[in-house]
Amino acid sequence: MPQLDTSPWLISILSMMFTLYLLMPIKISKILINNDINCYPSEITKSTNPWNNKWTKIYLPHSLPLH
């Protein structure tokens, strides 16, 4: 029965420990479980666009007469 061959046991157990204690908890801990929208950390809504720092005339909507 090939399951009783103990030569690959070490690498099997080590790779399982690596997956179960490192990879899977990283994936699962990044899930947002909080159901209260006001409790979320504000870094999520922070945008990384460099062109939004300063309001310029370019951002006026199309309907305004500046066009």
């Binding site: 399951q3 099997s12 699962i28």
Partner: protein
């Protein structure tokens, strides 16, 4: 015939390289993460399912038991995805290996028992003697309870191994039988129907994961709270 049947359970190596590392780590790839509040359907579905399982699993625990939530969620997701991926043809299922299941069962059971003995020593020791036993039966009952405690990790590991291995073996056998009977067309309809039924029943390998984590859970609960 015997050698042919069991070769699918030998640890896969590719020209001497152990690719089992990649096979075990592969299910972690199927759960993408993102920092966004709302992402695509797959992430939303996984978030919903994991949230559901978390609430179901951790509802009965005290706050001290709930510190194990990440561990138990990781455990159930790992075993569930590994078993489900193993239902695809020609795949290798890591949970058929006794090594991996022992490595799953023994540390987690030992952690629960040690936690119980450390924080609630009297309660944990009192589990060895149920209430209301006759005085003459006490020595024998303590021996029996000790044996039943130490057999818990072995039972966890062997249960998972045996169930998944038996299911895979049966699928191999019945598939081979169907192929052999294909020339005789009267029995093939019946055999393929049995394969379909068996595959459906094997999908309830996921129920086995439920059983695994529940058993572990009950042990943790018992040693932690009562």
């Amino acid at each position: 015939m015997n050698e042919n049947l069991f070769t699918s359970f030998s640890t896969p190596t590719l020209m001497g390289l152990p690719i089992i590392i990649m096979i075990i780590a592969f299910p972690a790839l199927l759960y993408p993460t993102s920092n966004r509040l709302i992402s695509n359907r797959i992430r939303t579905l996984q978030q919903y399912l994991i949230n559901l399982i978390l609430k179901q699993m951790m509802a009965i625990h005290s706050p001290k038991g709930r510190t194990w939530s990440l561990m138990l969620m990781s455990l159930i997701i790992f075993i569930a995805s590994t078993n489900l991926l193993g239902l695809l043809p020609h795949t290798f299922t890591p949970t058929t290996q006794l090594s991996i299941n022992l490595g799953l069962a023994i540390p987690l059971w030992a952690g629960a028992v040690i936690l119980g003995f450390r924080y609630k020593f009297k309660t944990s020791v009192s589990h060895f003697l149920p209430q209301g036993t006759p005085i003459l039966l006490i020595p024998m009952l303590i021996i029996i309870e000790t044996i039943s405690l130490f057999i818990q990790p072995m039972a966890l590991a062997v249960r998972l191994t045996a169930n998944i291995t038996a299911g895979h073996l049966l699928m191999h056998l019945i598939g081979a039988a169907t192929l052999a009977l294909f020339s005789i067309s009267t029995s093939t309809a019946l055999i393929t129907f049995i394969i379909l039924l068996l595959l459906t029943m094997l999908e309830f390998a996921v129920a086995l994961i439920q059983a695994y984590v529940f058993t572990l859970l009950v042990s943790l609960y018992l040693h932690d709270n009562t």
